[in-house]
């Protein structure tokens, strides 16, 4: 019996074993996954990156074709190497080493031989390319900046790094990604969606066609064009005014929170970070630790706001009911307080002050008194400080503002807890923290925060989150940017403050900064500042600070200007502010003398002082 059925049994048995093994291989073990098929290469088709326009539809950033010379080493044949090198403007040595390098990477696969040819080089090479076997030209898009300004806003794109690739599977080696500025914040809108093409390889990695006639492929979706809120003319003008000075200018439209200009000086030409020289230039900019051109002073520079802060001290006093606008306070040239008769000097000239004239003349004593009463209204200083702090925070101070750029600073607004921690064994009170009244002390703010509270005053109690993106047909903006945010101050309390800021320009500290035909409300500021030289604390020339909005009725622009070591507020910051306001509201500048003065003024000498190694004078 066994004899008869042995072979038949084996046939059936082996058949079953085979089917079982096939089942294990084809059904049980794995499902086909095209991503893991090493016979298939996934290639990406990159969409056009979105263009960037300013608020008046001026094109700021476009794309430009750039040409890489590619080489497939084993296809290179004998040729006129000298001619090739001459066209590409490279040394023969460089030619050999590049070819060697490409060959080491892979003799069969294309490598970049020379990256990002200039257009002229491309034109010359394109004609002769047929002579050079194994080389070809590959086109790819890079950014083409149509402006020399706004580098800090536009940011730049660069090859994606490993961390980003690890956390976001969209990106692959060599992809370009927004690294800074709106290129980074609106990366998702700008980049579009890359397409995928699966190509069939053979076992030598050569491409031999498409897979399933493209059934798995996807078409790229082009990136969306962005419209920014900035006015490039105003921006450029601001950057020109800031030549040879350090500092920041932030101009907002108070009625929408749109950022009209965001100047940081010194800056750089955005075109520097494109093309063959990109990394060299980036390293140069990044290593300049004295001028710090990559540091956005408009967003990141924290400083004690100084006198402009008095507007807030005043409006808080009104809200808390510790002062009324008509109440008279007499300034004796200083404010004396505390058990040891400490004094806060006032430069206002002394005399009878009400809220309006106190702002106009920037009277320290007046606001010290208001501040003290605001805090001492409450049973404990800590509680009073908390209330005061919360009012300020409702203006967006002491925290990130939530604008649409990837960098920022909180600034600092102390509260009760802050001083409790600072003075654990000491009964601190309003007088301990009196410097806060005039924007010195612990308070820190950034230019954009200052511009924002200026806008809140202009609006009499509310503001919109500052932002750079203006809606257009392609997209909508985040609803956070269209919702007004109310401060904790009632509208009527802003009237006397605005009146005071208006008087700054008529009878006050900035009366020489008037712009004909425009009612400007503003406030000067001068902030003391120190540095360390060889471990010693040394005072430097004051920072020049100015805040303003205009016109007084129906404000169209709110601006904050900060000029490092520019001395008193009206001197540079105030002038720049007036010029910017006129430029924006009139479209041209009539204050030619003032313009010429600002444009020609260099503060380089001032900035050299701490590095000179010699003793120096300040506030000249």
């Amino acid at each position: 019996m066994i004899r008869k059925y042995l072979l038949g049994g084996l046939v059936v048995g082996i058949g079953l074993i085979f089917i079982g093994k096939l089942f294990m291989l084809q059904i049980y073990t794995e499902q086909y996954d095209i991503e893991n098929d090493n016979a298939v290469r996934k290639e990406f088709i990159y969409p056009k990156r979105g263009y960037i326009f300013d608020r008046n539809n001026t094109l700021l950033v476009a794309n430009e074709a750039s040409y890489d010379v590619m080489v497939i080493p084993r296809e290179v044949k004998a040729m006129d190497t000298l001619e090739f090198c001459k066209v590409l403007a490279i040394e023969l040595e460089k030619f050999k080493s590049s070819l060697e390098k490409a060959n080491r990477y892979s003799p069969r696969l294309p490598s970049v031989f020379v990256a990002q040819l200039a257009k002229k080089e491309y034109a010359m090479l394109a004609e002769k390319m047929h002579k050079f076997n194994g080389f070809y030209i590959q086109k790819r898009d890079v950014r083409d900046y149509k402006t020399d300004y706004a580098a800090n806003i536009l940011g730049f794109i660069a090859e994606v790094n490993n961390n980003t690739m690890a956390s976001d599977s969209y990106y692959n080696l060599g992809d370009l990604i927004g690294k800074q500025g709106v290129e980074k914040s609106y990366e998702d809108l700008l980049r579009g969606q890359k397409g995928v093409r699966y190509v069939q390889k053979d076992r030598f990695n050569r491409i031999i066609g498409s897979v399933k006639n493209g059934a798995y492929d996807t078409i790229p979706i082009p990136g969306k064009d962005l419209t920014l809120t900035i006015d490039i003319e105003l921006q450029a003008y601001g950057e020109q005014l800031m030549t040879k000075k350090r500092g920041g200018i932030v101009a907002l439209d108070p009625q929408s929170g749109e950022i009209l200009a965001l100047v940081s000086a010194p800056s750089y030409n955005p075109q520097l970070l494109v093309g063959r020289e990109r990394s060299t230039n980036y390293n140069l900019l990044n290593s300049d630790t004295i001028n710090r051109p990559l540091f956005d002073r408009g967003l990141l520079q924290m400083f004690p706001p100084g006198s402009p802060f008095k507007t807030l001290t005043g409006v808080l006093g009104l809200q808390e009911g510790v002062v009324n606008p008509t109440q008279i306070y007499t300034c004796n040239g200083s404010y004396i307080y505390g058990r040891n008769n400490r004094r806060m000097i006032c430069h206002c000239g002394g005399g009878k002050r009400n809220l309006i004239s106190a702002i106009a003349k920037s009277c320290n004593s007046y606001f010290a008194d208001v501040y003290r009463r605001s805090i001492e209204k409450y049973p404990s200083a800590s509680k009073g400080m908390d209330v005061w702090s919360n009012h300020l925070k409702s203006f967006g101070l002491g925290n990130f503002l939530g604008y649409d750029l990837p960098i920022g600073k909180r600034g600092l607004i102390p509260d009760g807890g802050y001083y409790d921690r600072r003075y654990p064994d000491f009964r601190w009170g309003a007088t301990t923290t009196l410097s806060n009244a005039i924007g010195q002390g612990e308070i820190l703010s950034t230019p954009i925060q200052m511009a924002n509270w200026t806008a809140a005053i202009a609006n009499k109690g509310f503001f919109f989150k500052p932002h750079l993106l203006k809606p257009n047909d392609n997209y909508e903006i985040d609803e956070d940017y269209v919702k007004p945010i109310n401060t904790s101050i009632e509208p009527q309390y802003f009237e006397p403050i605005i009146e005071g800021m208006s008087e700054v320009f008529t009878s006050g500290t900035a009366s020489f900064l008037n712009v004909p035909g425009i009612d400007i409300c503003g406030k000067t500021g001068t902030a003391e500042n120190y540095t360390k030289i060889n471990g010693k604390r040394v005072q430097l020339t004051d920072h020049s600070i100015f805040m303003a909005f205009a016109p007084k009725e129906d404000p169209k622009i709110a601006i904050a200007v900060f000029v490092e070591n520019g001395y008193y507020g009206a001197r540079w910051a105030g002038r720049i502010s007036s010029l910017m306001i006129e430029k924006y509201l009139k479209g041209e500048v009539t204050l030619k003398a003032m313009e010429a003065l600002v444009l020609s003024k260099s503060l380089e000498e001032e900035y050299q002082k701490p590095y000179s190694g010699k003793p120096f004078l300040i506030n000249q």
Binding site: Q26, I27, D202
Partner: protein, 426 residues
């Protein structure tokens, strides 16, 4: 004088149908495996798919000729066919052309011909003729020896031509001899010798001898009546020793290094991890690629001409020995198991038909056909899906190649002719 035939020739259409299905499906896969990404006429004779089409046409002609020849011819001329086959094999030592290290080809123009494919037919015929002879009794040791020698002669010749894969196929004829009554004890001895050989290779001759001594020493403990302990045991141990020494010598000196490596790998004998890694890269490369191709096919496959690994030419020798991986990739589990089922059905059908034969020659020949087909089927597919070591033999009716297609066609069609004549036997 012959009786008038009462029955017209009735061919087994199931077998013919399966045969046609296999060669057509085979051609489709050869086409997929060799067309790559080019376009070309299917009749392009410079390409394997074009040639195979020609071979298939000639196969049909061959089949028709075989059917036209009188059934008695094959039995009558079996010995002559066998002699011609042996002469062809011997001729290779003089005129043979070397391909892939084996001198097993005649070259005629651009076409090559491998006689070992025809030798399978010859041995099947000769063995059937010898075993069905009235004067042969398989229970006689001399006749056992004769029938074994009948198989071993061409096997050794092919082995000497360095074509171990084809030689291996001839072992399948032992199924036939066993089927016809080779005593069971021979089977046991065969199993014992295989184990002995493996022990000798793995652990050395001395341990193999110790192993066999132990085996024979414990024999008397099993009560088995009259057991001539001393003499037989002594002879058996001596015989085992000789076999072990020969096996070891064969392993060390006759086997090519790559064959040794394949054997070691399959048996799990290789222990050096570096060498193992090296073997995986080289010997297992084909297997690895073919397994990947097959498993990537999934349930229903990627579709005709859509196999990415096939198009990419990742599996070496894909249109010949590894053709089954194309089936697996492009036709998936459905296609590949269908091929297995077709083969199993064909073989069971032939076994069924063989057992119906009244003429012992036809019956034995039929079993020979199945034994050859089965060995090819089991070793080839087993190799492609990773169950057997790499042995380069084609998949019947499927793999590219004229010699093997004709060889199998002749093998099968002679049986179908014999079978069609079944009812005319007297």
């Amino acid at each position: 004088m012959r009786l008038a035939r009462q029955h017209k020739n009735k061919f087994d259409f199931l077998s013919i149908g399966i045969y046609l299905a296999l060669i057509c499906f085979g051609w489709i896969n050869i086409y997929a495996a060799t067309i790559g990404s080019q376009d070309g006429s299917i009749f392009d004779l410079s390409q394997p798919y074009g040639k195979q089409l020609l071979f298939m046409g000639l196969s049909v002609v061959l089949g028709a000729i075989i059917f036209a020849i009188d059934a008695k011819f094959y039995e009558r001329f079996a010995s002559i066919v066998y002699l011609i086959a042996i002469v062809l094999l011997l001729g290779l030592f003089v005129f043979g052309k070397e391909i892939n290290g084996a001198t097993s080809w005649y070259a005629i123009g651009s076409f090559t011909f491998q006689p070992s494919e025809l030798v399978k037919v010859a041995v099947s015929l000769a063995l059937a003729k010898y075993l069905s002879d009235m004067q042969t009794s398989i229970s006689r040791p001399l006749d056992q020896l004769n029938s074994i020698l009948l198989v071993l002669l061409p096997t050794v010749l092919i082995l000497l031509q360095n074509d171990a894969g084809s030689a291996l196929v001839f072992l399948s004829f032992f199924f036939v001899i066993y089927r016809e009554g080779l005593p069971n004890s021979h089977l046991y001895i065969l199993v014992y010798l295989v184990i002995l050989t493996l022990v000798a290779i793995k652990l050395g001759v001395l341990i193999a001898l110790g192993f066999s001594a132990l085996f024979f020493l414990i024999q008397p403990l099993i009560p088995k009546g009259k057991y001539k302990f001393k003499l037989w045991s002594f002879l058996a141990i001596l015989g085992s020793g000789i076999v072990a020494v020969i096996a070891r010598y064969f392993y060390d000196n006759i086997l090519q290094p790559h064959q040794r490596d394949r054997l070691n790998l399959w048996l799990g004998f290789e222990e050096d991890p570096e060498k193992l890694a090296d073997l995986r890269r080289t010997i297992l490369y084909n297997l690895n690629e073919s397994q990947k191709a097959i498993s990537s096919g999934g349930f229903s496959g990627k579709g005709f001409l859509q196999g990415t690994r096939t198009i990419g030419n990742f599996v070496p020798e894909q249109h010949t020995d590894y053709i089954f991986s194309t089936v697996g990739e492009e036709w998936g589990f459905i296609g590949s198991s269908l091929v297995v089922i077709l083969f199993v059905t064909l073989m069971l059908r032939i076994i069924y038909l063989a057992n119906l034969q009244k003429n012992p020659f036809s019956r034995i020949y039929g079993m020979g056909v199945v034994a050859v087909l089965f060995t090819h089927f089991a070793i080839n597919i087993g190799m492609v899906i990773g169950l057997f070591p790499t042995v380069g033999i084609p998949l019947p009716f499927f793999s590219y190649g004229g010699s093997s297609l004709w060889g199998f066609t002749i093998l099968l069609f002679i049986f179908l002719k014999l079978d069609s004549n079944r009812l005319n036997e007297w």
